[in-house]
């Protein structure tokens, strides 16, 4: 009697399955992985760095127009992993919320607040049938003058939490395993370079290939340079070389 009554709708819209799960949300997570891109982000002592793969699908496409790393406001940025079109929609919403906050309160929205706001929006899509959950995971990075470097991840389920290091996308689990091993000791105080290199090393390890600057996008924000920025190819090359030299 309970088997037929949901009439299989639990796989089409976000209502509960018999075990109390939301299949649509779980499928949204799969959509994040389906794009085949992995993102890794690491928080250091006074810097945060996020690295994402850059896959240009066609040689004729202008590589400058392919990007998943965006500035949200002066001191923070976001990396979107998952369906590109859903990511655009989320980006618009994120920027609009951040701008609203600045207008209303006169100062930049703190990273945990913008993460919470987006997570609450994601939650609405998991509860209302008229809109599907979006297939994007968002990783927010920023510099807070009181709390220091911040790293938050929001997922399609509406869950958000702060991280020392996190990953999203196709090789998320492998990246997390790698990071857990590296950061097992409690209070590793990573410098700016160590932060960037750990993120790059993690990505390199999970994609099992040597990275070139054109394969990745690196977004950083640090105490010395509190303005969120994307590293140039030369800077990325520097970090990659320093990384290989260490080995």
């Amino acid at each position: 009697m309970s088997r037929g009554s949901s009439a299989g709708y639990d796989r089409h819209i976000t209502i509960f399955s018999p075990e109390g799960r939301l299949y649509q949300v779980e499928y949204a997570f799969k959509a994040v992985k389906s794009v085949g891109i992995t993102t890794v982000a690491v928080k250091g002592l006074d810097a945060v760095c996020g690295v994402t793969q850059k896959k240009v699908p066609d040689k004729l496409i202008d590589p400058k127009s392919v990007t998943n790393v965006f500035r949200i406001s002066d001191h923070h940025g976001c990396i979107f992993t998952g369906l590109a079109t859903d990511a655009r929609a989320q980006l618009q919403r994120t920027r609009s919320e951040a701008a609203d906050f600045k207008f209303k309160f006169g100062y930049e929205i703190p990273v945990d607040q913008i993460a919470k706001r987006l997570a609450d929006i994601n939650q609405v899509y998991t509860q209302h049938a008229y809109m599907r959950p979006l297939g994007v995971s968002l990783i927010f990075m920023g510099m807070d003058d009181e709390k220091g470097p911040q790293l938050y991840k929001c997922d399609p389920a509406g869950y958000y939490i702060g991280y020392r290091a996190c990953a999203a996308g196709a090789k998320e689990q492998e990246a997390i395993n790698y990071l857990e091993k590296k950061l097992k000791e409690e209070e590793k105080k990573l410098s700016f370079d160590e932060t960037v290199q750990l993120a790059l090393a993690t990505l390199q390890s999970v994609v099992a290939a040597d990275l070139k600057p054109s394969d990745v996008e690196v977004g950083v924000v640090s105490k010395d340079h509190p303005r969120f920025r994307i590293l140039t190819d030369d800077e990325v090359e520097q970090q990659l070389t320093a990384m290989t030299e260490k080995d």
Binding site: M1, I15, F16, R21, A119, D120, Q127, Y130, Y152, Y159
Partner: protein
């Protein structure tokens, strides 16, 4: 609510007269981390497990126990994102009550309103029930109160209760240990012991959260140091 193309309810009766969506929501709650609450003579304590799936997550950024107003707080078991919606609505209602009556909201009225919201989502068009049960704790003129609110919107006042994964064992433990003349300090110790019963691994001040409210003290979430002291006392 009543979204454009979904003017029909997603929660409908099965042939046997059950609302299966609500039952499934309760399954989602039963899969969540254990939370419990104990009402003492002079206050209420609520506590929860806060186990992070990865060492990379920072547990202090996740707030499972939250204050609703100065004299009330809540903890949830189940889907965290859903609980944030209810928390926001509860806070707004508490403030709006204060604005009208210039008095802190009586706990039962706050609970009633929150339960009403949860019931709405079991009947309105195009929405699913909330996948959380809440334990709302508060002190008002009638004394200390502990209420449990379920996804169906039904609520009960409890002397002590537990929700989530380990609720059956926890409630059995609480039944044995509860006494009507408990003071808040005993209640906190009992809460910790109850959590310990079903806890996998070592309990520390970073993987549990405790909140308390007393007759003459505002609702507060204990700091990790305070929790550590209580853990030491319990050993």
């Amino acid at each position: 609510m009543g979204d454009s193309d979904y003017s029909f309810s997603l929660t409908t009766f099965s042939p046997s007269g059950k609302l299966v969506q609500i039952e499934y929501a309760l399954n989602a709650v039963a899969a969540g981390a254990t939370s419990l609450g104990i009402r003492a003579k002079n206050g209420v304590v609520i506590a929860t497990e806060k186990r992070m799936p990865s060492i990379l997550m920072e547990s202090h950024t996740l707030e499972k126990i939250s204050f609703i107003s100065e004299t009330t707080g809540m903890v949830y078991s189940g889907m965290g994102p859903d609980s944030r919606v209810l928390l926001r609505k509860a806070r707004k209602f508490a403030q709006s009550y204060y604005q009208t009556y210039k008095e802190p909201i009586p706990v039962v009225q706050l609970v009633r309103e929150t339960a009403f919201v949860m019931q709405e989502f079991t009947q309105s068009g195009g929405v699913r029930p909330f996948g959380v049960s809440l334990l709302i704790a508060g002190c008002d003129e009638q004394g200390p109160h502990l209420y449990q609110v379920d996804p169906s919107g039904s609520f009960f006042a409890w002397k002590a209760s537990a929700i989530g994964k380990n609720m059956v064992n926890a409630k059995t433990f609480l039944e044995k240990r509860y006494s009507d003349d408990m003071e808040i300090e005993d209640a906190i110790h009992t809460a910790i012991l109850t959590l310990k019963e079903g806890f996998e691994g070592q309990i520390t001040e970073h993987n549990i959260e405790i909140g308390q409210v007393t007759d003459n003290q505002k609702f507060k979430v204990l700091t990790p140091l305070e929790v550590k002291d209580y853990l030491g006392e319990v050993e």
